[in-house]
């Protein structure tokens, strides 16, 4: 007899849970009440004991997946079959039907509910290029495919829409049908083809950055996981980043140029005013990023080509600054946007930075807060980089990278001095911006910061 293990109800108002770790693998004997898996729901991690003794025969919901309460997450075969194979590495469990012997557990699918930085409507463009499963390739029966190549969530969606999962080409590991695949199938009228559309076609439609085109990795060498490798699904955020980066380098011929800026004046002003500033903002700090944003905003007004986008053969000039700021997160990054930054004081900018970064980390940003940027700032210097070559955040045409500020020995008026210095990089799209324009913009930033107007505070 098989016992179904379900996602437990951890509280009245808790509707779903994410499996964070399986503590047993299929084939392992389990005792009733022995810890079987770990879940996570809003600020609560919980270790869930096995409801029965026997052998864990199948893991239905993989690590990283989020499912509703009471969803079946695993199956346990009870009784004598659970012969003591304690240290054995036998991959195939001895219980249950043949169909369930397949090591489906080795093929986790991308977490269906992973926090999506923004709504992506173009999953249909994902290439169906997953390597064929090693064990159950061509000979799998229909039931096996349904069982092993999809999650309960996907199967639920399939049955709700009357879709036959076996007809969908899975893009997950080992060809698993992911939630994205099935949604794309349904949105595409159930006629998703197995070949990915050419990325070039997509780009035309996507000039407004509402979605990301497919990464094109089809022609290079591909990786296959061996026994000593570990396969983990990309989070949704990771997938979006991957798509965006490939898209950007394919779209824009990147050129990078560097300036070194003397930060003494800014450092002095900051030191003098930061405490009073903190009072005024109610907790948002006067960081160097605030100064840089102010300098960027002022200089973008003088160089409209830097604050622009390309649409086909048209140039769109933006008479406002929607400033994207890259925020590193666990396992990825997001670029929240400060809209109409040209209208904000430095106090306003500091508050926005704190607010957007907070909510980026808490995954509470609305989709509209993650798009519509006209220029982007990133700060690899906060990790120690002296300079970097950032990739343009499409559909921007330029991105500014801040290096680490550090004391360096410099010659000033024929004398040796020690000054806080920072390298600044401008990455720009050479389709629209020529070197001279980029230089003028960066030299304007340098000028603004080295002679910072204190009254701007």
């Amino acid at each position: 007899m098989a016992t179904e293990v379900t996602m437990p109800q951890m509280g009245e108002s808790i509707a779903e849970g994410t499996i964070t770790k399986w503590l047993k693998k299929p084939g392992d004997p389990v005792e009733r009440d022995e810890p079987l898996f770990e879940i996570s729901t809003d600020k609560v991690d919980a270790e869930i004991p096995s409801p029965a003794s026997g052998t864990l025969t199948e893991i239905v919901v993989n690590e990283g997946e989020t499912v509703e309460v009471k969803t079946v997450v695993a199956k346990i075969a009870e009784g004598d079959e659970a012969s003591g194979g304690g240290g054995s590495e036998t991959p195939a469990p001895e219980a249950e039907s043949a169909a369930e012997d397949k090591p489906a557990e080795s093929a986790p699918e991308p977490a269906a509910e992973a926090p999506a930085p923004e709504p992506s409507k173009s999953e249909s463009s994902k290439p169906a290029s997953a390597p064929a499963a090693s064990g159950n390739g061509g000979t799998a029966t229909r039931e096996e495919r349904v069982q092993t190549k999809s999650s309960p969530l996907v199967r639920k969606i399939a049955s709700e829409h009357g879709v036959d999962i076996t007809q969908i080409e899975g893009s997950g590991v080992h060809g698993r049908v992911t939630k994205d695949d099935i949604m794309a199938h349904i949105e595409g009228g159930g006629t998703q083809t197995q070949t990915a559309p050419a990325p070039q076609k997509q780009q035309q439609e996507q000039a407004q950055q509402t979605s990301a085109p497919a990464p094109t990795a089809a022609s290079g060498p591909t990786a296959t996981a061996g026994e000593r490798d570990r396969v983990e699904p990309m989070t949704r955020m990771r997938q979006v980043i991957a798509e965006r980066m490939v898209h950007s380098v394919q779209t824009s011929p990147h050129v990078h140029t560097y300036y070194e800026i003397d930060m003494k004046r800014v450092a002095d002003i900051r030191k003098k005013t930061k405490d009073a500033f903190l009072q005024r903002t109610g907790g948002a700090k006067l960081t160097y990023t605030v100064f840089m944003m102010k300098a960027v905003i002022d200089n973008l007004a003088k160089h409209p080509a830097i604050n622009a986008s390309i649409s086909g053969t048209d140039i769109i000039y933006h008479d406002y600054v929607n400033l994207g700021m890259a925020v590193a997160l666990d396992g990825g990054l997001m670029v929240p946007v400060i809209n109409d930054a040209q209208d904000l004081s430095m106090v306003g900018l500091a508050k926005q930075i704190t607010d957007k970064a907070t909510r980026a980390r808490d995954k509470k940003l609305g989709p509209d807060e993650l798009q519509g940027s006209t220029f982007t700032i990133t700060n690899p210097g906060s990790f120690g980089s002296l300079m970097g070559d950032p990739v343009i955040n499409q559909p921007n045409v330029a991105i500014l990278g801040m290096g680490k500020i550090e004391d360096r020995v410099v010659a000033i008026d024929g004398a040796i001095a020690i000054r806080p210095r920072m390298y600044v990089t401008l990455g720009y799209d050479h389709r629209l911006i020529d070197g001279a324009t980029a230089e003028k913009f960066l030299s304007g930033i340098k000028e603004t910061l080295e002679n910072f107007d204190e009254t701007a505070l």
Binding site: K43, V44, D45, Q279, A284, T289, V327, T354, A357, S382
Partner: protein
């Protein structure tokens, strides 16, 4: 408070404890409570500067950063569970309630809300008005129009025995929070009692009030104390 069950509670206040030692202590207490031995325990302590990294945390930048963090005096501790990077350090009152929840207490969200209630009541004793800020778990205050987080909460349940708990910023060094945030940007506004009150706050006095409110809100009465610190109430 008539006719309630009034279970017993041990309070342990070992002072400043390395993060790893705190974990071991919790593991021991959890195992004990799972066997239904001993009593529910509230551990109140301080940690040295430490960043705890959940399983998802070391994908990108955090590994690169680790050495720098250590150079700046942070212990870095990977914890075998999901979740974010969190900071603990001196001036934070850390509470680890190890409770075997009763049947009518077995609701993870309700448990979080009760922890928040304990801290809100404690802060009120120091004339700090604190509140919940749904959907964000934790305790918040308002300062000059901005909402700032003064206590963080994150818990673990193992067969309905609780561990981990809360971190209340009493005299916390707020700039230490910056290191877990990129771009020199703080993840959210954080506050500390001393900054709000304009004066250093006696950690023991705060811990005392936590115990009092914990007893009341969790309906457990202090039956034992250890490690020297008396519970004044």
């Amino acid at each position: 408070m008539a006719a309630t069950r009034q279970a017993g509670l041990d309070v342990r206040r070992p002072g400043r404890v390395a993060y790893a030692d705190g974990l071991r202590l919790q593991d021991d207490l959890v195992a004990m409570r799972q066997r239904d031995e001993g009593r529910d325990t509230l551990v109140l302590l301080e940690h040295p500067k430490v960043l705890t990294l959940g399983r998802n945390a070391h994908a990108e930048n955090v590994l690169l950063n680790e050495q720098q963090l250590r150079e700046r005096g942070f212990e870095v501790h990977e914890v075998g569970r999901g979740g974010d990077v969190t900071y603990h350090g001196p001036g934070q009152l850390i509470g680890y309630p190890i409770l075997k929840l009763h049947d009518d207490e077995k609701d993870a969200h309700a448990y979080l809300r009760r922890l928040e209630d304990v801290l809100i009541a404690t802060l009120a004793d120091f004339e700090i008005e604190a509140f919940r800020h749904p959907p964000h778990t934790g305790v918040w205050i308002e300062h000059a129009g901005a909402k700032l987080k003064i206590a963080a909460i994150g818990v673990r349940l193992s067969k309905w025995v609780t561990s981990h708990g809360f971190a209340l910023n009493v005299n916390a060094e707020l700039s230490d929070f910056d290191v877990i945030v990129p771009c020199g940007i703080r993840e959210y506004g954080v506050a500390s009692m001393d900054k709000v009150l304009g004066t250093e706050v006696d950690m023991d006095a705060v811990a005392d009030r936590v115990v009092v409110h914990f007893e009341e809100i969790f309906d457990r009465q202090v039956a034992g104390e250890s490690n020297g610190k008396a519970v004044a109430s």
